[in-house]
């Protein structure tokens, strides 16, 4: 990618132009022309949260989900968008240590929250034990669901309710893997539990 524009940078620039179009009503307001729906126009909200140990302050449209804020505003695309409706688990992150679906959480609700994503699990070059176990046990194939699987697995171990293979499967059922790496995911989780 030397000297070129990455796909993500290109999309970011397109997004910037899009934002310019959204600003048009504000500019017309400055010129003294009020849009009809002014009374109901929602105001952007400024929110401050800790993301992977770093404080982040964002001013956002109220509709932005935590998932979209991570991917599109903080440029942290490790957290994946699958169904965007809380059905697949690809967007799983930890908020204050608990696993949640970031697609069903508004970013503006994260004031003061501590968010941990897949990018925040490793310590420098040292992988988180769950990341290492997924590699060792081949707990993925295409890899798209893997960030969500790993964050979910970290949450599962911390919760401490899964004692048997059946319980691990039940308590990982919120993460769908269409490649079908489930057996190896269970093996990876067991290794971390027993470490």
């Amino acid at each position: 990618m030397k000297g070129g524009t990455t796909r993500r940078q290109f999309l970011g620039q397109v997004g910037f132009v899009g934002a310019g179009l959204q600003l048009a009503p504000l500019l017309s307001k400055a010129a003294g022309i009020l849009p009809d729906n002014e009374a109901l126009s929602p105001e952007p909200i400024t929110v401050t949260m800790m993301v992977n140990g770093t404080q982040k302050t964002l001013t956002l449209d109220t509709r932005v989900t935590l998932l979209d804020a991570l991917r599109e505003k903080l440029m942290m695309p490790g957290t994946k968008k699958g169904c965007d409706h809380g059905q697949c688990g690809a967007c799983t992150v930890l908020i204050d240590g608990r696993r949640i679906n970031s697609c069903l959480h508004l970013a503006v609700m994260c004031e003061g929250s501590e968010v941990t994503t897949i990018e925040g699990l490793a310590k420098g070059e040292e992988l988180h034990p769950m990341q290492a176990a997924f590699l060792k046990h081949d707990g993925f194939q295409c890899g798209y669901c893997t960030p969500g699987q790993i964050c979910s697995a970290v949450g599962l171990v911390k919760e401490g309710h899964a004692k048997t293979d059946a319980e691990i499967k039940e308590l990982m059922s919120g993460n769908i893997c269409r490649c079908g790496a489930y057996q190896n995911i269970v093996a990876a989780i067991k290794e971390v539990q027993n470490a």
């Binding site: 126009s41 809380g86 799983t92 069903l104 004031e111 949450g155 309710h161 308590l171 919120g174």
Partner: protein
């Protein structure tokens, strides 16, 4: 998603006031309302975040009941030691629903307010009297395998989706709400409404009334209780049928019974008929079946869901058998 104004409420009264404007909605866990907002099924103009309110406590009441704050997460409630010991049916119902991530987000109050998963409600290309008043019901003549057989009307056959609510219906929970005019309580059986002529009105709660907590009254025999859920896959799926059962059996005779069904009703379905059939009767397979027949006597099957009538009976008989063996 339609644009909306976001308000973070710091106390109950501010929240209630902010919810009073037209097209305002509370948000807590967000697992249902955000899903519906993305599909333009819910289009609030103002969203009132109530997560800062002090409604997170689970308190044991002196008489053996329990008080559950409206913002208690489904996961915290399901793993609470007192719930597991005294009301296992509630813990099991919660754990049978959704996924661990969703249970970490979803709240007690939000679960009460959960809307149907009828596919015709979810797909805005189809008629749905719940979604657009007077538009018709595409489910009645459509693919209605997942739909209800109890409490339906010509306007709506959508099932109520919650598992938690089925257990709470059996336990006779009491819902405490706060509004601009003060506090009131709503018995569980009166909270959700049958569709009748007005399927878009789903509950007995005004727009600016806030659920503050839910009381589960003492019920000593609920220590022997069970939630059995039957579904198309082993986990993370809504019920085809389910049964919440608690039995008080003394010397082989049923002295008390609490029974509610899920997946078959347009609201969480307490069956007083099944309870009546059991109370005073010997605890045996024949009487369990008689209770199941009584529970489903009023069932009205549609094109694709007639199987639910027998499946619900067998689900209830199995649940009764399991609880019967605990004594």
């Amino acid at each position: 998603m339609e644009p909306f104004r976001f308000v973070k409420a710091q106390d109950n009264l501010t929240a209630i006031h902010a919810a009073g404007i037209n097209h305002a909605k509370f948000i807590a866990g967000g697992t249902n309302i955000l899903d519906l907002m993305k599909l333009n099924i819910e289009t609030p103009k103002q969203v009132v975040d109530i997560n800062k309110l002090s409604l997170y406590k689970i308190e044991e009441l002196q008489n053996g009941g329990i008080r559950i704050g409206a913002l208690v997460k489904n996961s915290d409630l399901s793993y609470h030691p007192y719930i597991i010991k005294s009301f296992p049916v509630l813990s099991e119902a919660l754990l049978s629903g959704a996924s661990p991530q969703l249970r970490n987000m979803a709240t007690t109050g939000g679960n009460l307010m959960q809307r149907t998963r009828c596919p015709y409600f979810y797909n805005t290309d189809f008629a749905c009297n719940k979604r657009v008043q007077g538009s018709g019901c595409a489910a009645i003549s459509g693919h209605n395998r997942m739909n209800a057989v109890l409490g339906t009307s010509e306007k709506c056959i959508a099932t109520h989706p919650s598992d938690m609510c089925v257990a709470m219906a059996a336990l006779g929970a009491i819902i405490h709400v706060q509004g601009p005019k003060g506090l009131r309580t709503i018995p569980f059986a009166d909270f959700h409404l049958l569709p009748g002529e007005t399927p878009h009105i789903e509950h007995n709660l005004k727009q600016d009334e806030l659920i503050t907590h839910v009381d589960i009254p003492a019920l000593p025999f609920a220590a022997k209780s069970h939630y059995l859920k039957v579904r198309d896959r082993a986990s993370y799926e809504f019920a085809l049928t389910s049964a919440a059962v608690a039995l008080d059996i003394q010397n082989g005779t049923i002295k008390g019974a609490r029974i509610a069904l899920g997946g078959v009703g347009t609201k969480p379905w307490r069956s007083l008929e099944a309870e009546k059939a059991l109370i005073g009767a010997p605890a045996n397979a024949q009487n369990y079946r008689a209770a199941a027949d009584a529970a489903m006597a009023g069932a009205k099957p549609y094109k694709d869901n007639a199987f639910k009538v027998e499946l619900a009976k067998r689900t209830l008989v199995r649940a009764l058998t399991i609880v019967g063996r605990m004594s």
